[in-house]
Symmetry: C2
Subunit: 348 residues, 2 copies
C-alpha cells in the first residue's frame, strides 16, 4: 500500500492500493476511535460498492447506518444537505462518531460539508470512487454544496481523517467519467510535472489503465504539495485553477449540462494557452487532450464566457487571477484587471 | 474606549464603549479593507438601530445592503439561512467583502454561520444588541443554526473580525431580556471571578445599569481568557457550560417556550449546586439569581430532564461532563457515566 501524508491543520494519510475498498473497515478502525459510523453515498455507487463497504466496516466492529441519495450534481443541494442532517440526528450520530463519504465528487463535497457543520464538526473519511474524486476533490479539504444561484457557493475547509483510494474501482467507470478525471491529471502534469505529462501523453484513453496507479499517485502527490503550502487557498493553491477560470464559465454557459467538468477544464486550458504560450506548447496540450477524447475548442462566444468569468466565486472587485503554463510543468499566477483579461481573450 | 483583544486562530478586538454603535462605520473601516458590506439583522433591531448603523457605515464610505428577518428563535433555521445566502448572491457579495451581524444571539449565530460558509468563508463583524449577545454569543466564534430535531445542531467555529459592544443599547432592553443576560453574567462570576459575583449580588435588576459597563467588560474578559485557551471547545471551555447541561434540558422540556435561556441556566446552576456544594454557596447563588428575577427552581420532573441531558449535543457515548463550583469563582469539570449522573441528580 502506498501512503501519502498531508500535513495540513490536521495531518492525515491518503492510502492508495488496489482492492483497498474491501479492507476499508480495518483501515478506518486504525484511524478513528469510534465504532459508530454513517455512510453517505449515492444510488449508483451504493449498487456497486455499498455492500462491500458495509460488510468490511461491520467485520471491523463498526455499527453502520447508511444514507443514499440520487446520483448527480442536482443532489449537491441544500435539500439533500438537510436530509443528511436529519438522518444524522435520527441515527444519534455524536461528535465523537465519524461519517464516510463513499462516491464521486458530489458525494465527497456534500458529505464533507455535512461533516464540517453537523454539531460544529465531526470526523469524516473519503472513499472516492471516480478518478476525478481520487486525484482532486477528495484531497485538500474543500467541501461545498451548490445554491440555485451558483455552484460550490456554500462550503467549508474540512480535512478528512483519511482518504482511501482503490484504483480497482476506476475500472467500472464509463469512458466519459474516466475522461472527466483525465483532464485534471493532464492539468497536474502541465502545472507541476513534465514527466507525468509525457507519460499521460504517450498513452490514450484506451490503454490508460496500464498507468493509472502512477497517475493517481503522482497527481495526489502534487495536490498534497500545493495544499500543504496553502491550505486555505489564499495564494499558491490558485495554480490548481489552471483552465478553471474559463472552464467554470463554459460549464455555466451550458448550464452544467453539455460538458463535464473535465471537458470544460480541457477547453479552458487550451483557450488560455492559445493566448499566452508558444504554439508548440499548445500543440502538445491539444494532442494530449484529444487522446483522452476531451474537447480542445468551445463554440460558446468568448464575450459571453467573459461575462461569466467576472462573476466567478473567486473574483475580487475588478480583478481576475488566472494561471499560465509557458513551459510544461511550470505554472505562473497572473493577476490583471477584468478589462485587461477581456482584451487578452478577445485578442484586442 | 475599552479594548479586549482575543488571540484565537485569528486575533481580533472587542470594543466596549457607550455610543460606539453610532461610530461603527469608522471602527469597521479601520478593521477591514473592503468598502462593501451586507448588514444582517432582525425586524425589531432594525427598527431601533438599522438606520444608525447604515448611516454610520455610509458616512465611512461603505456601500451597504441589508437583509432583515423576523425576530425570534424560529428564524434561526435552514430557511432563513438559505434566504441569507440568496441575498448575498443577489447583492454580489464577494470573498473580500464583509458582513455585519446587528442584533442579539439569533442574528449573531446565523450571520456568523453564513459568514463561515458562504464562499467558504468571508469576514464578519458582530454588533451585539442584547446583554446576552455582548457577553456570551458574540465572543468566541461559535456560530450555529437550529434543526427541527434540535437547537444549534449545525454550526461552525468562525471568529469575527471585531465585536462592537455599545452598552447604551442595553437601556432599550425589556426586563426579561436583561435578566436573560444577567444569568450568564452570574455564571461568569461563579466560575471565575468572585469580585464580579459580589458586585452583581450587591445590586438588583432595578439598579444594575449602574454597573453594567463593569459587568460587560469583566464577563467578556473571562470569556476571552477561556476561549483563547480552548478555541475549539475540547477542554477548558467546558466550564462555560456551568448550569447549561441541565439548563438545555429545561429549555428543551418546555419546547423553548416557557423559559428564556438565562432562566433555564439559572435553574441549572441551582440544581447542580444543590447536589454538589455547601448550603451557603447555594444560598448566595439563589439570592443573587432572585435579585435578577430569575427562577431558582424548576417544576419539570428530574427524570424527564435527565433523559434530555443524555441526548445533549455534547454527549459522548455513555458519559456526561458537568461543571461544579464548590467555591464562588472556581469551576471544576466533572466527567461521570450517565448512570452516575442520574443517581446524583435523583439523590440516590
Amino acid at each position: 500500500m502506498k501512503t501519502i501524508t498531508v500535513k495540513a491543520s490536521i495531518s492525515y494519510n491518503i492510502y492508495i492500493e488496489r482492492g483497498s475498498i474491501k479492507n476499508c473497515g480495518n483501515i478506518i478502525a486504525d484511524t478513528v476511535k469510534t465504532r459508530r459510523t454513517a455512510v453517505i453515498t449515492d444510488d449508483i455507487v451504493d449498487g456497486l460498492y455499498g455492500k462491500t463497504v458495509t460488510d468490511s466496516l461491520e467485520k471491523a466492529g463498526f455499527s453502520v447506518c447508511k444514507f443514499v441519495f440520487p446520483n448527480g450534481e442536482s443532489s449537491k443541494s441544500t435539500e439533500t444537505l438537510n436530509q443528511i442532517y436529519t438522518f444524522l440526528c435520527e441515527n444519534n450520530i455524536t461528535r465523537t462518531d465519524c461519517i464516510i463519504a463513499l462516491g464521486g465528487g458530489v458525494v465527497g463535497d456534500i458529505t464533507g460539508f455535512a461533516a464540517a457543520t453537523f454539531l460544529r464538526g465531526l470526523d469524516y473519511i473519503q472513499i472516492p470512487t471516480t478518478l476525478l474524486a481520487q486525484i482532486d476533490s477528495s484531497v485538500g479539504g474543500k467541501t461545498a454544496i451548490d445554491l440555485p444561484c451558483g455552484k460550490n457557493l456554500v462550503g467549508a475547509f474540512k480535512q478528512p481523517k483519511c482518504v482511501i483510494c482503490d484504483s480497482d474501482v476506476l475500472s467500472t467507470l464509463s469512458d466519459e467519467i474516466l475522461s472527466d478525471g483525465m483532464a485534471e491529471a493532464i492539468k497536474y502534469g502541465m502545472i507541476r510535472d513534465s514527466r507525468l505529462f509525457d507519460l499521460i501523453a504517450s498513452h490514450t484513453l484506451e490503454n490508460v489503465s496500464e498507468i493509472i496507479d502512477d497517475i493517481v499517485y503522482s497527481s495526489v502527490s502534487i495536490k498534497r504539495d500545493v495544499v500543504e503550502n496553502d491550505e486555505f487557498d489564499t495564494g499558491e493553491r490558485m495554480i490548481l485553477n489552471f483552465g478553471h477560470t474559463l472552464g467554470h464559465a463554459v460549464e455555466s454557459y451550458y448550464n452544467y449540462e453539455t460538458y463535464t467538468h473535465g471537458s470544460a477544464v480541457a477547453m479552458g486550458m487550451c483557450m488560455i494557452t492559445e493566448r499566452e504560450c508558444a504554439p508548440e506548447i499548445l500543440e502538445k496540450l491539444k494532442n494530449c487532450i484529444t487522446a483522452y477524447r476531451l474537447p480542445v475548442k468551445c463554440d460558446a462566444p468568448v464575450h459571453e464566457l467573459l461575462k461569466l468569468c467576472s462573476n466567478d466565486k473567486k473574483r475580487e472587485s475588478g480583478n481576475i487571477n488566472y494561471i499560465v503554463c509557458r513551459e510544461i510543468g511550470k505554472a505562473e499566477i497572473k493577476r490583471v484587471t477584468v478589462d485587461e483579461f477581456n482584451r487578452l481573450m478577445e485578442g484586442k
